[in-house]
């Protein structure tokens, strides 16, 4: 790396803290530039063995060595929330991507779900703490009693699409 951008320290410490860097953050603007993108990917790979993914709207580090178990909990939470929103006749994707949620109302909504017995055994059970820890990763933005999902949520929707497609392929092959 010949020169470091002035945001270098912030970029590295944010990513190492497990935070998503999201458009329109100025940090994201730096990562998006081709001259830096490849350098940073190389930097994290060589220094830490981590994978830097720079998507259209967000960037994050991943590593199969440092596994974040709570990701599973988060996907469970999101799956249940989508399911409940869909049941109540709402367009779950618009609601998740654009809407604002009341923390205690959302907790109640999930607790009424027949699937709460699964969530109950996960870190979602302590709901405020759960929201806080994902807010610190920039996946959720908390304002007072409300929270919103950031653009990073698309990563988890992508995951669901991949699961569905893989399952579909599996079913087609077995037929």
């Amino acid at each position: 790396m010949r020169s470091y951008p002035s945001e270098h320290k912030e970029i590295v410490s944010n990513l190492l803290d497990g935070k998503f860097i999201i458009y329109p953050s100025p940090l994201f603007a730096v990562l998006q530039q081709e001259e830096f993108a490849d350098d940073y990917k190389e930097f994290f790979k060589q220094s830490y063995g981590y994978e830097l993914t720079i998507d259209n709207e967000f960037a994050y580090l991943s590593s199969n060595e440092v596994n974040e178990k709570r990701t599973r909990d988060f996907v469970l939470f999101l799956a249940m929330l989508c399911r409940e929103l869909d049941y109540s006749g709402k367009n779950f994707r618009d609601t998740i991507e654009l809407g604002s949620f009341d923390i205690s109302e959302t907790e109640q909504l999930l607790k009424q779900s027949s699937k709460w017995e699964i969530l109950e055994k996960t870190s979602v059970a302590e709901f405020e703490k759960f929201i806080g820890s994902w807010a610190s990763k920039n996946v959720i933005k908390r304002t007072g009693n409300q929270f919103k999902f950031t653009k990073a949520i698309k990563l988890f929707f992508e995951f669901a699409v991949n699961v569905a497609n893989a399952k579909l392929k599996e079913q087609q092959e077995s037929n």
Partner: protein
């Protein structure tokens, strides 16, 4: 007393008085409008027990021509009725776009014939035929679009489980591929064989002819054709925008949303068996206070550190309060010394003078005072080799007997 001949009023009356029966027959028989014989008889029997006005099979089939029995024994509803009933019940059966395509192909054919017709009577017939075909086509396509929109709305309604989700995805895919895209092709203005293009051609031709035609009658007919084609164009534009701007995105949306839900469904179902996720979860990073090391590097370091992994003794440090030692002010003692004019045993004097101020005479205190011996304005004389002891709190000094006095100024 009923008339021998069936009039329009009888037909309308039948539909009015037996509305529920007609609707049931319609619902049961869609989409091909064929009902199993037993089922039809049962339907009539049910109706006749609950209603004062009775339905007679013979009358509705022979006189009213509501239905006819097929060679297979089934009953088929009359197409004239069903077309009207589709309109009445707002329930249109989806035709394959192929069928629609064939229908509007007729517009092309009649139009070609019209352009070459030499006879005024024939030209008028073709014009009327074109207007009729366009009208039918518009009705069809509006009905179909309406039906698609309504079904799509109902498709949006929630799926309870994964099989419902799969059906949703399948249906959305089917409608997109089999209906919307072909309908789009038929209606697409960029496609030279599209119905829109045929209608535009008709419109241009009619626009010219309504002014330039040979006779007044012909001009009037072309005027009607022109109006019909202008109207058709406007309506088809609307339909097209419904299809492409509402229906297609809606279906795509339903499809992709259902895919997400079904992916989540599989994930939740297999949450206790992560190996069944098929697709691994994103390996997000936990907050790490990391140093610049990779895993391999860290293993090596751990191995190295293990070599020194013994228990170090615990050391407890007693907390000591540090005292700042008081040191005598040498200038004060010099003053005292000078007052004496002459001191025969300097070191003893030092000790005694200090004693007046403190009990605890340490080396450092003693030397602070005894260093006065080095002052330039003092003269030290010592002859005696003998030493005497001076007992300090932290040492015993053997000192010579030194006489000291002030140097006389020259």
């Amino acid at each position: 007393m009923s008339n021998l001949n069936i009039s329009g009023k009888d037909i309308v009356g039948f539909l009015f008085y037996h509305y529920d029966f007609v609707q049931k027959a319609f619902d049961i028989s869609t989409p091909d409008f064929i009902i199993d014989s037993d089922r039809f008889h049962q339907l009539i029997a049910e109706h006749n027990t609950s209603s004062e006005r009775k339905v007679h099979l013979h009358k509705i089939s022979t006189d009213l021509k509501f239905c006819r029995q097929l060679p297979t024994g089934e009953y088929k509803l009359n197409g004239t009725y069903t077309t009207f009933l589709e309109f009445v019940f707002d329930d249109f059966v989806l035709d394959l776009p192929e069928t629609l395509k064939n229908r509007y192909q007729a517009v092309f054919n009649h139009f070609t014939s019209l352009q070459t017709a030499t006879d005024e009577t024939k030209a008028i017939l073709f014009i009327r035929e074109i207007i009729k075909v366009i009208e039918d086509f518009l009705n069809d396509i509006q009905g179909q679009t309406y039906r698609l929109l309504r079904d799509t709305e109902s498709l949006k309604v929630n799926a309870e489980n994964n099989s419902d989700l799969s059906i949703r995805i399948q249906k959305a895919n089917y409608w997109i591929d089999e209906y919307i895209i072909p309908l789009n092709t038929i209606l697409n203005i960029d496609n030279p064989n599209s119905v829109i293009n045929a209608i535009i051609q008709v419109q241009r031709y009619a626009s010219e002819k309504r002014i330039l035609a040979d006779t007044y009658t012909l001009k009037r007919e072309f005027e009607k054709l022109y109006a019909s084609s202008v109207n058709a164009k406007a309506e088809l534009d609307q339909t097209l925008s419904k299809l492409t701007r509402e229906l297609l995105p809606l279906l795509e949306r339903i499809k992709s949303d259902s895919i997400i839900l079904s992916g989540f469904y599989h994930f939740v179902e297999n949450v206790d068996n992560p190996e069944n996720y098929i697709v691994p979860l994103p390996d997000l990073l936990r907050k790490v206070r990391a140093n610049v090391i990779s895993k391999a590097f860290s293993n090596e370091a751990e191995f190295y550190i293990d070599q020194f992994n013994y228990k170090t003794p615990e050391i407890l440090y007693e907390e000591t309060t540090e005292e700042i030692e008081w040191l005598p002010d040498s200038s004060y003692f010099k003053e005292q010394l000078l007052k004496e004019k002459e001191v025969s045993n300097f070191y003893q004097w030092c000790f005694d003078s200090l004693k007046e101020h403190t009990e605890n005479i340490t080396l450092s205190k003693f030397f602070t005072v005894s260093n006065l011996i080095l002052e330039e304005d003092l003269v030290a004389e010592y002859k005696d080799e003998t030493r005497f002891d001076i007992q300090l709190s932290d040492a015993i000094l053997k000192m010579p007997k030194v006489k000291i006095y002030e140097k006389l100024s020259e």
